[in-house]
């Protein structure tokens, strides 16, 4: 049996049998049939449920006359993302804000959950940042196709038709590299943050690790911002007017 956090243990006790059956139905044999749900997934589910509860609570308390503190915080965050995407993409950026905000909140809370004792950051394993990066990757390509139709494929052919056979493989690789670079940056920063805290905790258990936990909070916000910003830049490349 792998080492499990308490949330994972509860999820595995409740859902181990159906999850194992589901995995076997798609011809995947889990390494531990008694505990097929890993910590990462349990943490993701927790973040998802937390965000769902938070937004349902926020929705029920929305008020135009007397907005509460929570409403102020989230309106501010949403306004920030909206303003930034308007700056980068242009005036037709409203439709993209919900995706960017959702992705941002999910990554931010995935990063921050590792600060609570008994939990760990799902983003400190490569699989979760990869999932987020692939979401962003598919999203901006789908939006590109929606925006310019089949003409979107012209982006891949380069400026001159004669160069197209050379540019198409290069463009494909560079687009895939974007997904990889988004993954690695988020994963490496969160992993390094966890490691640094852990190493200093094992050297000096009192006082010093707090500094690194503070650093971890800063890195969590910064990496979320960079992830969202780069997704916005890629979106702008796919749906921008200059192309």
């Amino acid at each position: 049996m792998p080492e499990q956090l308490w949330v994972t243990a509860i999820l595995n006790r409740l859902f181990a049998a159906p999850v194992t059956a589901l995995l076997r139905a798609i011809h995947m044999e889990p390494r531990h049939p008694q505990a097929p749900i890993p910590n990462t997934f349990a943490m993701e589910v927790l973040v998802f449920l937390f965000l769902l509860a938070l937004f349902l609570m926020l929705r029920s308390r929305l008020s135009v006359e007397r907005p509460g503190a929570l409403q102020h915080i989230f309106e501010g965050a949403q306004g920030f993302i909206h303003q930034q995407s308007q700056e980068i993409i242009g005036h037709h950026s409203e439709g993209y804000t919900p995706f960017l905000a959702t992705l941002g909140f999910f990554i931010l809370f995935c990063n921050l959950i590792g600060l609570i004792p008994g939990f760990e950051s799902p983003t400190a394993l490569p699989i979760v940042p990869l999932g987020c990066a692939l979401c962003a990757f598919f999203y901006y390509h789908v939006q590109g196709f929606k925006h310019s139709g089949v003409a979107y494929l012209k982006h891949f052919a380069g400026p001159m038709p004669i160069l197209a056979p050379l540019m198409i493989p290069i463009e494909i690789v560079s687009h895939l590299a974007r997904a990889l670079s988004l993954t690695i940056r988020l994963f490496a920063n969160m992993f390094a943050g966890d490691m640094v805290t852990w190493v200093f905790f094992s050297l000096v258990p009192i006082g010093i690790p707090i500094i690194f936990l503070g650093l971890h909070i800063g890195v969590s916000f910064l990496q979320t911002y960079i992830f969202i910003l780069l997704t916005t830049v890629y979106l702008a490349g796919a749906v921008g007017e200059e192309h």
Partner: protein, 81 residues
Amino acid sequence: MPGLDEFDNRRDPDKRESMWLQLARYSQLAVIFPAATVVGLLIGVGLDRWLHTTWLYLAGLIVGIAAGFVELIRSVVKNAD
């Protein structure tokens, strides 16, 4: 030699990017080049296995390096605008 403020003032103030925006953009440069190289190599190795060839990994690597340069130059040129 122009000071930093003077250099900044030459740009259109509406188009001047915030420090955080620049930080995010430039942090991209360090990762995108190795990422493109690795992706190119992985595609080449994958094609080699699929088509039972022995040289496509090298072609993939070269395309990956070229893609890294293209992306690097493109983002630097965009930032210099």
